[in-house]
């Protein structure tokens, strides 16, 4: 994608984000103030970035999964499992790095399971991942043995509550990973191949694409993303809560992807737009908090927001824009040049 096309793609999300942030300033004039206190950046904007970290991390994998025409309902439960794994490992006295690696492995394993069900057993993604969504919290409870497993390991806590050069660690983690994934899928051909199998798997298979392996990959990415989010949430509260960690967060992640203008029918996707979507959701949450409105409004405003975005992105509106923009077919040379021409 050229820079122009990229900017055009994320323009709606940027505009919406700007509007929501503007509303934040209206209800709370000091919204954009950021100050340094005790070596840590403080401010509402930082809060948005920080609180939005779990959703942002989830929507990385979710974007790829949805691009393949799938959906991953299990990410909230995987967060709980990963948090519980990390907590129990440090409580048993392991180094926090071991705990994190353990949690990530468990997340990858969960993704592998989902991917196996979808790619090899051909179970519909919504059903396949529902299995783990339901069972996952049970697994997490088995790991925590039914309690909220608390820990005091400073290394692990740092991931959720600490700062690096004044910036909260979760912010750094999701920005780095988000940038990495967004660039990686476009620098390699992964992005295009994922889009191809999402749009037309039969054609893609006949073109020689290994669709099964790609499908498993996207679910594994989703699982790992969920695991990182789970570790961050657990580290933040210094404990693994099998029942509430990541509860309903899969829906926020899906919403972020949709607000990012990615079609649930699969196909073209933009990671950056999804991340902006996650930030839009968090800004709305912040807006409701700051305005002093009862939190019930949160859901209604979210709903209005989705409707507005869906209208903007509906195919009918898009088709209209295309017709306006489409130019006349180019003139073509009568004489055909020779076919054989070395391209390699």
């Amino acid at each position: 994608m050229t820079r122009n096309a990229f900017l055009r793609r994320i323009t709606p999300q940027l505009i919406i984000l700007a509007i929501v942030l503007g509303l934040n300033v209206l209800v709370f004039p000091d919204f954009f103030d950021v100050e340094m206190k005790n070596g840590r950046l403080f401010g509402n904007l930082i809060d948005v970035l920080n609180r939005g970290a779990p959703t942002a991390l989830l929507c990385l994998g979710m974007t790829l999964v949805i691009a393949t025409k799938g959906i991953d309902l299990s990410v909230g439960a995987v967060m709980a499992i990963a948090g519980a794994t990390a907590a129990s490992l440090v409580v048993e006295g392991n180094h926090w790095l071991v705990a994190v690696l353990g949690a990530l492995s468990v997340g990858a394993l969960c993704g592998l399971w989902n991917g196996f069900l979808v790619a090899f057993l051909r179970i519909q993604p919504i059903v396949a991942t529902l299995v783990l969504m339901v069972a996952g919290r049970g697994i997490a409870q088995l790991i925590t043995e039914g309690t909220i497993l608390t820990f005091l390991d400073p290394g692990l806590i740092h991931l959720g509550a600490g700062t690096v050069l004044g910036v909260p660690t979760p912010v750094l983690i999701w920005l780095t990973l988000g940038l990495f994934v967004a660039v990686f899928v476009r620098r390699t051909a992964l992005g295009m191949l994922i889009e191809a199998i999402g749009i037309n798997e039969a054609s893609s298979r006949l073109a020689g694409i290994n669709s099964r392996v790609l499908l498993v990959c996207v679910y594994v990415v989703s699982g790992i993303g969920a695991a990182i989010a789970g570790v961050i949430v657990a580290a933040d509260i210094q404990g693994a809560d099998a029942n509430n960690a990541g509860l309903w967060l899969e829906l926020d992640a899906i919403l972020a992807v949709v607000i990012g203008g990615n079609s649930l029918l699969g196909g073209r996707f933009s990671i950056v737009a999804s991340l902006l979507g996650a930030m839009i959701i968090q800004s709305v949450n912040s807006l409701i908090l700051l305005s002093g409105m009862p939190p019930e409004f949160n859901l209604i405003i979210k709903a209005l927001l989705i409707i507005a975005i869906l209208v903007i992105q509906s195919p009918k509106v898009g088709h209209l824009l295309y017709i306006l923009r489409a130019s006349a077919p180019q003139p073509h040379p009568k004489q055909l040049p020779p076919l054989k021409e070395n391209l390699r």
Partner: protein
């Protein structure tokens, strides 16, 4: 034919535009009651678009439709049904798990209070169907009956609901000889009931068998309205094709002289293809002829590994190879342009550029992305050499016309520089200009030393470019024609060795 009252249905100046193409250009169609009218044209001529405009599936962009002199403008299919225009498609669009009677009366069941009066519904259904010449138990699920009977039920439903105009869109495509006769007897009864019937088919024999008149479409325009009693078959074909295809591309075929490239021995899969053998040389074009369902597509898919064969030995350049999936085939330098472009070929939402590069990229693996410069070079090269008409390379491929989509798919495979190219119905559903270009392209590829296997239902086409033609019947290789033997007549004779078969044109 009748007291020339006003026509049952009259369409005047219908036009329909799609992005980049004019699907219908000022088309007129007149239907009289008691007349069976054929709508003829090549694939992509605009037949189905016209039908869809008449029945409200599409909104026409201009023109008027008069039903018994009154202007109508159906916007939904059930509007047109209520107005009196019923449609039956090739794929029976009824519910196979419901009973025959339920299908017949769905949405307007006879009621007793709040309940469906089943007994009355079944009796009525039996009586109705008897009028159509079939005696079946309407309380049985529809799926227990043959496709022909299901077609008749679909027709009965359409006629009972609508009753003025009946449109039959390729109703005989999946029927055998007897079943076609059953269907025809039903259609003749409807003619006696003074319905106006539109009959769309690719079988010209059937057209001359049952139809009174015909409108011929080409490239979205009406090129002729003829009375079939006074028109010869050749004239109709000439109208449909515009020019005699064979004459213009009967260029000297290059002699196939290369080394043996691929040897196929005993390729077979139960229910799809009986033993298939072929030895293919470099620079040779082998045609695959046969009727629909004779195993043409299955052969192509089995050779390409799209479907796994039960048995068979493939020797490529003297080495035995195993193809478990298309990826293996692509790795060997095979390529397949599938019959159904939409479902198996294009990736609709992706740009033309991405579609062209897809197979090459898939072969290189996702880690090694084709460099942007090279992508541009390849895409532009093929847009130029294949004369693909598009606004820009970023537009989604689904917006291209059929012929241009086909060319883009050819570009996808040519970009992989294949040794062996399989084309399954390469000219189906594309306009006549692109048609000739693709045939010319086959010749050019052959001269470059590529081996091609081309499955096609168009005899003239096979005659034009094949060095050899293999004829399939009932999923079996029945005849191989070489050199001078390759003529349309010989191919048709080989296909029709079985008396039951109608010659497809």
């Amino acid at each position: 034919m009748t007291d020339e009252r006003r026509p049952m249905l009259q369409a005047k100046g219908i036009s329909k535009f799609f992005p980049g193409t004019v699907a219908l250009d000022n088309v007129d169609l007149t239907l009289h009651g008691g007349e069976i009218h054929a709508l003829l044209g090549e694939n992509g001529a605009g037949k189905s678009t016209l039908i869809k405009c008449l029945t409200g599936v599409y909104r026409r962009d201009s023109g008027r439709v008069l039903l018994q002199g009154k202007e109508v403008d159906p916007t939904l299919t059930h509007h047109s049904q209520r107005l009196g225009i019923g449609t039956v498609y090739q794929e029976v669009n009824l519910l196979p798990n419901l009973t025959v009677a339920e299908n017949l009366y769905l949405g307007r069941q006879p009621m007793r209070g709040p309940f469906v009066d089943r007994r009355r519904m079944n009796t009525q259904a039996r009586d109705t169907l008897r009028d159509y010449g079939i005696q079946i138990d309407p309380a049985q699920p529809l799926s227990t009956y043959s496709v022909a009977v299901q077609q008749v039920v679909a027709i009965a439903r359409a006629v009972e609901m609508s009753g003025k105009v009946l449109i039959l869109d390729e109703p005989t495509a999946s029927l055998d000889h007897e079943e076609v006769q059953l269907l025809f007897s039903v259609i003749r009864r409807l003619k006696d009931r003074r319905l106006a019937v539109v009959f769309i088919t690719h079988f010209l024999d059937q057209v001359f068998d049952i139809c009174d008149s015909a409108t011929v479409l080409r490239n979205g325009q009406v090129v002729g309205r003829v009375d079939l009693a006074t028109t010869s078959r050749n004239d109709v074909i000439t109208l449909m094709l515009g020019r005699q295809l064979a004459a213009q591309v009967r260029a000297p075929k290059p002699k196939a002289g290369g080394n043996t490239l691929l040897q196929i021995e005993g390729l077979q899969k139960t229910g799809m293809l009986n033993r298939f053998d072929l030895s293919l040389n470099e620079g040779e074009v082998v045609g695959l002829a046969g009727l629909l369902g004779s195993g043409r597509t299955e052969t192509a898919n089995l050779i390409f590994g799209a479907v796994k064969a039960d048995q068979g030995k493939l020797t490529f350049r003297g080495k035995e190879i195993q193809l478990r999936n298309p990826r293996d085939a692509v790795a060997q330098g095979f390529a397949l342009c599938p019959e159904d472009r939409k479902t198996d070929g294009i990736v609709g939402e992706l740009s033309v550029r991405d579609n062209i590069i897809l197979a090459l990229q898939a072969r290189q693996g996702w880690m090694r992305k084709v460099r942007r410069k090279k992508i541009e070079a390849i895409a532009e090269h093929y847009v130029r050499t294949l004369d693909i008409r598009l606004a820009n390379l970023d537009m989604p491929i689904r917006l291209l016309s059929g012929g241009n989509q086909q060319k883009a798919l050819l570009a996808r495979w040519l970009a992989t520089d294949p040794n062996f190219l399989i084309l399954d119905e390469p000219t189906r559903g594309i306009d006549i200009g692109a048609h000739a270009e693709i045939i010319a392209l086959i010749g050019r590829l052959q001269q470059d030393g590529m081996a091609l296997l081309v499955a096609s239902s168009e005899m003239e086409e096979l005659v034009a470019y094949s060095n050899r033609v293999i004829v399939l019947r009932d999923r079996t290789q029945v005849k191989e024609l070489v050199g001078e033997e390759i003529t349309s007549d010989n191919i048709i004779r080989a296909i029709a060795a079985d008396p039951q078969v109608e010659a497809a044109v």
